[in-house]
């Protein structure tokens, strides 16, 4: 219906190799982009600033992480620390009076370099041991931020973001900030989509699937693992800076704690490892499900449908949220992206049930 393949005949390699070879997919992307671009026109500012904006930034962060965890297969449980490095670097550069564009690039580079130092551990260790190495990064970065007042911003440990302009546009007001976040999300999305189909991306997948098999076909796994850490940390660092400037407008150490790292991993896993759409779905789920559940429960309580203590009332959404995650993963272990993919494939072969060999 939506995904009819009929009439789609690629007669040139260029058309067959484009990002979305099926017109229906292409249209869908354009429509979503149009919806996203027009959001400030039809969306109330509550939904724009409290839902859409953080969702876009967190999606960009989850995309950065999924490039590392999903595509290159390197586990990272300290990605919030990478974002923290980006956020703090950008804010200090901007406060020193440099342009915002430089602050963003500086954020990415600093995060990438420090991320690589810890990523170097990945060259020696795999799996759970890599989890330990990246956790160490999380705690080390947290400790440095908290204990060096020059970084955290003195006794209050809060740094307000200064007013900045991006490409001559002042980053003030909900709409400008929203478009800033959207632009970054689009850039990361296009980048990750394309990385996945270049030789770089294929090399990362080869290293993920079997690093020694990759090395015997001439893929330098040392180089590509390091490159994966570099790229992913760069994107993560800029995402942290965008989060600080476009959303929080103030940076405190708690915004990038260990629990945030776990949330990021959850976004990637619930969404579907290595999937671009999965990063969006996972970020949306992890970010918004608790909010929706809290509001729904509060509404039920106000209406008198639910008479429990405020303590229990606050915990019911947490239980529901946990149950939802387990439920989704039981239903489809490969994440939300796979559920979407199943639906898409169903329509691709519709009206038939299967594609035969």
């Amino acid at each position: 219906m939506f995904y009819r393949l009929s009439g789609v005949h690629h007669t040139r390699y260029e058309t067959a190799r484009q990002l979305w070879p099926i017109p229906a997919d292409r249209w869908q992307v354009w429509i979503l982009l149009a919806l996203a671009l027009g959001a400030p026109l039809y969306m109330a500012d509550l939904y724009l600033t409290s839902y859409m904006l953080p969702w876009l930034v967190w999606s960009a962060a989850a995309l950065s992480l999924t490039l590392l965890m999903g595509v290159a297969g390197q586990l990272h449980f300290g990605f919030a620390a990478v974002m923290a490095i980006g956020a703090y670097t950008s804010i200090h550069i901007a406060r020193a009076g440099w342009p915002f564009e430089i602050a963003l690039i500086g954020a990415g580079l600093t995060a990438a370099v420090i991320g690589c130092v810890f990523g170097a551990a990945a060259l020696r260790v795999k799996g759970l041991y890599l989890v330990m190495a990246t956790l160490a990064m999380q705690y080390l970065v947290d400790w440095v931020i908290i204990n060096v007042p020059a970084i955290s911003g003195g006794a209050q440990a809060t740094l307000q973001t200064p007013d900045v302009t991006f490409l001559f546009v002042p980053m003030q007001g909900d709409t400008a900030l929203y478009y800033g976040a959207l632009l970054w999300a689009v850039i990361v999305t296009v980048l990750v989509l394309n990385i996945k189909r270049t030789s770089f991306g294929r090399a990362l997948v080869a290293v993920r699937d079997k690093d020694y098999a990759a090395s015997i076909i001439g893929v330098n796994s040392f180089k590509y693992k390091l490159l994966a850490f570099f790229t992913s940390s760069f994107l993560g660092g800029v995402s942290g800076a965008v989060l600080a400037f476009c959303y929080y407008q103030a940076v405190t150490p708690e915004q990038f704690g260990f629990n945030v790292s776990i949330q990021l991993v959850a976004m990637v896993l619930v969404g579907g490892l290595g999937s671009v759409i999965g990063a969006y779905l996972g970020a949306g789920f992890v970010l918004l499900a608790p909010i929706f559940l809290t509001n729904a429960m509060a509404y039920a309580a106000i209406q008198g449908w639910l008479t429990v203590s405020s303590n229990l009332l606050a915990h019911i959404p947490l239980m529901a949220y946990g149950a939802l995650i387990i439920g989704f993963l039981l239903f489809e272990p490969l994440g939300l992206a796979k559920i979407y993919d199943n639906i898409r494939k169903y329509f691709l072969v519709w009206p038939f049930r299967h594609s035969g060999s």
Binding site: Y51, T189, L281, G284, S309, H315
Partner: protein, 415 residues
């Protein structure tokens, strides 16, 4: 592929919009948003504190409100997460809240620039930034009670009174390794220099369930007094470790976060003699508390377990709302309704020597001072309850204000 989900979000958002409704039209209710952390870090205080706040608002409503206005509490859990706090804040703002209380330092910090922009009053009772006491820099933020700087000064002053001077004394400051734990350090250092006592800091790692290594260092230092600066589960651990390392309970002085439950966790007899800073009186022997018992609790209108009524944190909640309602009353008297954030702010600034009918030290706010004077007193655990051992007083406000000015200046420059 950007996903089908975006469309879905739109639909769900629209649904949520209709569900939560836009009930801000009823002009005779004043909405206070109590968007607090019921599930993560502040759980040790939130339940009782929030219960006290809501019970006090119920009391005011039962007594007919003020000036024909009644109060409504918008309560949400934020899980101590800035992004959930900001969502709840934006939602509450839509619903017409004029005052917000997050009871969470991370969320309050993230919200500072927004409340200043949106002109909504944020009370940061015993949390948040201490430099927000500077009303000129933070016109819409009210720390309302003694900041941690003031608390440290009050505690140091108490030692001075007890010992006839601080000269040559050794004070150990044992704190949770976080910005909150370190906050009083500059004030104490300044005092040490001025008064000629020895001061050393000892940090224990968060969350504070394991502190034995720190305390063996403290023992070697042989302090005359120990100040403990933590919150929640770490506090009874600190007290127990201090006593185990040979420090008499009378020589342990705690930050405001020390309640009945902590003393019971340590052991009611073991903890006897322990001292703490107190910002609001504990117990039910005060006119407001008696009225709450009579009008709210006994008819069954209370929001939680009636056992909690009169506990430390419950009373702090009551006091926070008593001050806020007083501010609303003054604002309505001066400007008339409907109440806005700006009017409420001015109401706060009009408060003079308000002591919540004896429950609190007399608070006075002004355009400059949003702390209210930095008063407190020392109370001591007598085996059954916290018993005040001093009168309300404030100390070394010059040093405290130096810190406030310094940090507030930093905030202004950063903007």
């Amino acid at each position: 592929m950007r996903g089908l989900f975006k469309g879905l979000i739109g639909t769900v958002a629209a649904a949520a919009l209709t569900v939560t409704g836009t009930a801000k039209t009823d002009d005779d209710t004043i909405k206070f948003a109590l968007l607090q952390d019921f599930t993560a870090v502040y759980t040790f205080v939130t339940d009782e504190y929030n219960q006290g706040q809501r019970d006090y608002l119920t009391l005011i409503n039962e007594e007919g409100g003020i000036d024909g206005y009644t109060f409504q509490a918008l309560v949400r859990d934020t899980g101590n997460e800035p992004q959930r706090g900001l969502e709840a804040y934006n939602r509450a703002r839509r619903e017409g809240a004029v005052l917000v209380d997050f009871l969470s330092t991370p969320v309050s910090r993230a919200a500072v620039s927004r409340v200043l922009r949106d002109e909504i009053v944020m009370i940061t009772v015993l949390h948040g930034r201490g430099d927000a006491s500077d009303g000129t820099t933070f016109p819409y933020v009210f720390p309302m009670m003694a900041t941690y700087w003031s608390q440290a000064a009050v505690l140091a002053d108490h030692i001075e009174q007890n010992e006839d001077g601080l000269e040559g004394k050794r004070i150990a400051h044992v704190y949770i390794d976080s910005p909150f734990g370190r906050e009083p350090v500059p004030v104490m250092q300044e005092l040490a220099e001025r008064k000629g006592f020895e001061y050393r800091t000892f940090a224990y790692p968060s969350p504070g369930t394991e502190q034995s290594a720190t305390w063996s260092d403290v023992r070697r230092y042989r302090p005359d007094y120990v100040m403990i600066w933590g919150a929640g589960g770490g506090q009874p651990v600190s007290v127990r470790e201090a006593i185990r390392n040979g420090i008499a309970p009378e020589r342990i002085l705690s930050v405001v976060w020390m309640a009945e439950t902590d003393a019971r966790t340590v052991g009611t007899d073991v903890a006897t003699g322990l001292k703490r800073f107190e910002a609001v009186a504990t117990g039910t022997d005060y006119p407001i508390m008696e009225r709450i018992m009579e009008t709210v609790i006994e008819p069954g209108l209370g929001t939680g377990d009636s056992e909690n009524v009169g506990t430390t944190y419950y009373n702090i909640g009551v006091a926070s709302m008593a001050v806020s309602v007083e501010a609303a009353r003054l604002a309505l008297e001066e400007y008339g309704g409907p109440l806005t954030g700006e009017k409420l702010r001015d109401g706060f600034r009009m408060i003079e020597d308000y002591d919540a009918e004896g429950m609190m030290p007399p608070l006075t706010f002004s355009e400059e001072d949003h702390q209210g004077g930095g008063f407190g007193r020392i109370s001591q655990w007598n085996g059954e309850a916290w018993e005040p051992v001093t009168d309300w007083y404030a100390s070394y406000q010059d040093i405290v204000w130096e810190e406030i000015e310094k940090d507030a200046a930093g905030f202004r420059e950063g903007r």
